[in-house]
Amino acid sequence: MKNEAEEKLGPQIVEAIKASGLIDSKEAKVFEENLLTGKITAAHWRQYAEKAADRASKDGSTNG
């Protein structure tokens, strides 16, 4: 069951995580759904981080 506090906080977190570069715009929707249902596992986090690192290296970015 979603709760009011989570519905307010969730989008703020998604925006901040997106701005950090961990996820891209395409991933944001699924990320938010999983965040609000508590379904992001440790393995998911690792995948997000690895993909973000991969994107950053391709972009030549030092972000992260």
Binding site: I13, A49, G64
Partner: protein, 777 residues
């Protein structure tokens, strides 16, 4: 279950639920925002509250705080229950039905039932007095974000796992580097670092090392083969010499025998031996195969054997000679084969050696020209063997150096292999640990964001709530030196909520250490209400929350609740405190906005029962209007209502009353100055709150009531043996009703008491005003 629009509860029906041993129905007045349920202890207040709580929030209501094992929901059933437990909440015409299942109360019906938040007396203490962690637990339903916290937890786990992996990779890298360091140190520590040295070393591949090792192996192998062949050749030569010597000796012996016996005819002996053998094989022969003369084969053989016996020794020697000759022949053949093998082995050794000595640091040097005849078929066999022996001698001379060289090359090869393995391992682990460091940074940053945002969000909520708490608290305790409450998460501990406040000039104090019990009660209720305001709440339930609060604060608290009606669609308040009920019964509060419910004495046979509480003026009116009027009741009730109204005036204007005894009606009337009476006016406003609808002076009515006040004592309170007529008693009652009807607001039912304008008192809804604001000079 999804919460949508705010809702009210219209009706509660209970069957076999806790104290409701008999069916219980409570209908809520849709025109009243607040329901006040009064009941003395043990009349069923908690039964009603638990029904709301369990159906809306799950769990077991007030049983949560009772030590009753893991299946507390079983105790939700009424004692001696014979039917099925059922709780029906009706909201907007829809019934939500809760029934008891193995897992607890299961609610079926419309998806959207009102969000009910319940505050019990016991929770107030936890909100205020408990340790920060328990306080957090009590308020968790408001401030927790469980799904986000779960994701934060898995993120933290992912980061820890990455940290572990990284530590392992770094350790493996350091191990590989340490091994390289040992090789590096043993090689003189050149090229700056072990890794640089190893990289450089592996790049400088000695081109001939593998080939040299291969050629060296071939030289050593063929050298061994030649060695074996030479030994074998030596043996065959020995055998040849030995057989030759044996033959020579036999020939010498035969010569001696022949010399001693000159007539010996060797040919004849051989002929006789052959004839004997022939006759032995042909015993039935009847004629000589040479002369064809008739013979007797057996007899002839016997005769020949006798002759041969005579020549026996010589014969033996001749036989040995034959054997010896065969042996010599065999040895010669073996010698020839051995020479051939020697030549072949030597040729191979020569080839391997010539190949090997191409290496720049070769330990053997031979001249190819010296062995050009080796292996040539037309070359003399002795020279071939000699060449082989020469070659063997040269290689044999350098064999020790060869072995040393071989060992050195193998060591070099193994070391290079090890260095390569450790360098590869170092580089692989180095790369992996860098990858993990990057992942670590991403995860660390994400955790920082997630955790920071969550804390910031909760802090903002708490800050906002703290502000509301302060505002609410100041309405209950205006002008007191307590305040500035702050709820804040303790950064050091997860799920820990600090509560701090101000006491006079002292800031950041723990309220529970300084505040009185009644202040802490108010604070706890304010925290709950502030959170309920902040987060969507349809129905606020306050279950018997007053215990130590005094009347003026309860008064202000109730005013506060009425102010909060815009924040919640419905408020349900239970109390065992009778003055709170009487406050409304005597119209000291906006009775038009509150539904009064009074619970009757509970029994197992009757269950929870209730009745609608009547206002004092309603009861009086019923009695005044009764066809068969009870004059004593009218006299008594009129006196009580009048006393309540006059008491209200005395509080508003600070009228002087006798100290140390209960004021009588006469005392109240005497306290009115003529100036005040002459100015007392009720102003009723139109719904716009600006236009005067009715203006009525009270002096005449008060004076008239003053003349009737003795009726209360004579008829209502004492044995009455007078001829006072019912008409007088009825008129007294009617006058009291008139005064009450004038003063009490037609809209909200409350008496004017608020000084918002500074020039008159007004009721809760501001549609009834009382002038003046103070006694005229």
């Amino acid at each position: 279950m999804v919460r949508q629009m705010a809702k009210r509860i219209d009706k509660i029906q209970l069957k076999c639920f806790r104290g409701a041993t008999k069916p219980f129905v409570l209908e809520m007045d849709s025109q009243k925002h607040t329901v006040l349920i009064f009941g003395e202890n043990g009349t069923g207040k908690s039964t009603i509250v638990d029904a709301l709580d369990v159906c809306s929030n799950g769990g077991t209501g007030s049983l949560e705080e009772v030590s009753a094992g893991n299946h507390k929901h079983k105790f939700l059933e009424s004692v001696g229950n014979t039917g099925e437990l059922e709780v029906v909440l009706t909201s907007e015409g829809n019934d939500s039905v809760g029934r008891l299942k193995a897992s607890g109360i299961v609610v079926s019906g419309p998806q959207h039932i009102p969000m009910v938040r319940v505050l019990r007396r016991s929770q107030i203490l936890k909100v205020v007095n408990a340790e920060p962690k328990k306080r957090y637990e009590e308020l968790r339903s408001f401030v927790s974000v469980p799904n986000i916290e779960q994701c934060e937890k898995t993120l933290s786990e992912a980061l820890k796992a990455i940290n572990r992996d990284h530590t392992e990779e770094v350790k493996a890298r350091n191990d590989a580097e340490e091994k390289l360091r040992r090789f590096w140190a043993s090689e003189g520590s050149s090229d700056g670092t072990p890794v640089n040295w190893a990289s450089k070393r592996l790049k400088q591949v000695p081109a001939g090392l593998e080939l040299e090792i291969k050629n060296l192996e071939a030289v050593i192998k063929n050298y061994g083969s030649l060695d074996e062949e030479l030994v074998s050749f030596q043996e065959t030569q020995g055998e040849l010499e030995k057989s030759r010597k044996s033959l020579t000796k036999i020939q010498k012996d035969i010569k001696i025998k022949k010399d001693k016996k000159k007539e010996v005819d060797e040919a004849l002996i051989e002929l006789l031996q052959s004839a004997s053998e022939y006759l032995g094989d042909n015993e039935k022969l009847e004629s000589c195969p040479v002369c064809e003369q008739p013979i007797k084969a057996k007899a002839l053989k016997k005769k020949i054997d006798e002759r041969l016996e005579l020549e026996n020794e010589l014969v033996t020697l001749l036989a040995k000679q034959k054997e010896a000759e065969a042996e010599v022949k065999e040895s010669l053949s073996a010698e020839k084969e051995s020479r051939k093998n020697i030549t072949q082995s030597a040729s191979k050794l020569l080839k391997a050696t010539l190949e090997y000595q191409k290496a720049p640091n070769s330990v053997i040097k031979i001249k190819d020209s010296e062995f050009s005849q080796l292996g040539k078929e037309d070359a003399a066999k002795d020279s071939q063997t000699q060449l082989a022996k020469n070659l063997y001698a040269i290689v044999n001379k350098g064999s020790q150096a060869l072995s040393k060289k071989m060992e050195s090359n193998r060591k070099e090869k193994e070391q290079r292999s090890s260095v390569e393995i450790f360098l590869n391992s170092f580089q692989e682990k180095q790369e992996k640990s860098k990858e993990l460091e990057t992942t670590q940074k991403w995860l660390g940053k994400s955790l920082e964001i997630l955790s920071g945002k969550r804390k910031q969000f909760v802090d903002e909520v708490l800050k906002d709530v703290s502000k509301t708490v302060k505002e609410l608290y100041e309405k209950i305790h205006p002008g007191e030196p307590l305040g500035d409450f702050q709820l804040q998460l303790d950064e050091r501990y997860q799920g820990s909520l600090d509560l701090k406040g101000r006491f006079g000039l002292a800031e950041d104090i723990l309220p529970q250490a300084y505040y009185s019990e009644s202040h802490l009660d108010s604070l706890g209720i304010c925290v709950f209400l502030a959170l309920a305001v902040k987060f969507k709440t349809d129905v606020v339930v306050l279950d018997d929350v007053f215990s130590s609060t005094d009347d003026p604060h309860i008064e202000r608290f109730m005013d506060l609740l009425h102010e909060l009606q815009s924040s919640f669609p419905q408020i349900l308040l239970t109390t065992h405190y009778r003055p709170l009920l009487d406050r409304y019964r005597y119209e000291r509060g906006p009775v038009g906005k509150i539904q009064l419910v009074e619970l009757l004495v509970w029994s197992i046979g009757e269950g929870v029962r209730h009745t609608k509480s009547k206002l004092a003026v309603e009861e009086l009116k019923i009695n005044v209007d009764a066809v068969s009027m009870d004059r004593q009741v009218v006299g008594a009730k009129s006196g009580v209502v009048l006393e309540s109204l006059l008491n209200h005036f005395s509080i508003l204007y600070g009228l002087s009353l006798p100290v140390g005894k209960r004021p009588t009606l006469g005392n109240y009337f005497d306290a009115f100055s003529s100036k005040l009476k002459s100015k007392l006016t009720i102003e009723k406003m139109e719904d716009d709150g600006k236009t005067t609808k009715e203006l009525k002076e009270l002096k005449e009515l008060i004076d008239k009531l003053n003349t009737f006040s003795w009726v209360r004592n004579q008829v209502g309170a004492h044995f009455d043996f007078s001829s006072l007529s019912d008409v007088v008693v009825k008129e007294f009652g009617q006058c009291v009703l008139n005064l009450a009807g004038l003063i009490a607001c037609d809209e909200c039912g409350a008496l004017p008491k608020k000084n918002r304008s500074g020039s008159y008192f007004e009721c809760h809804c501001s549609l009834t005003r009382l002038h003046p604001i103070q006694i005229p000079d």
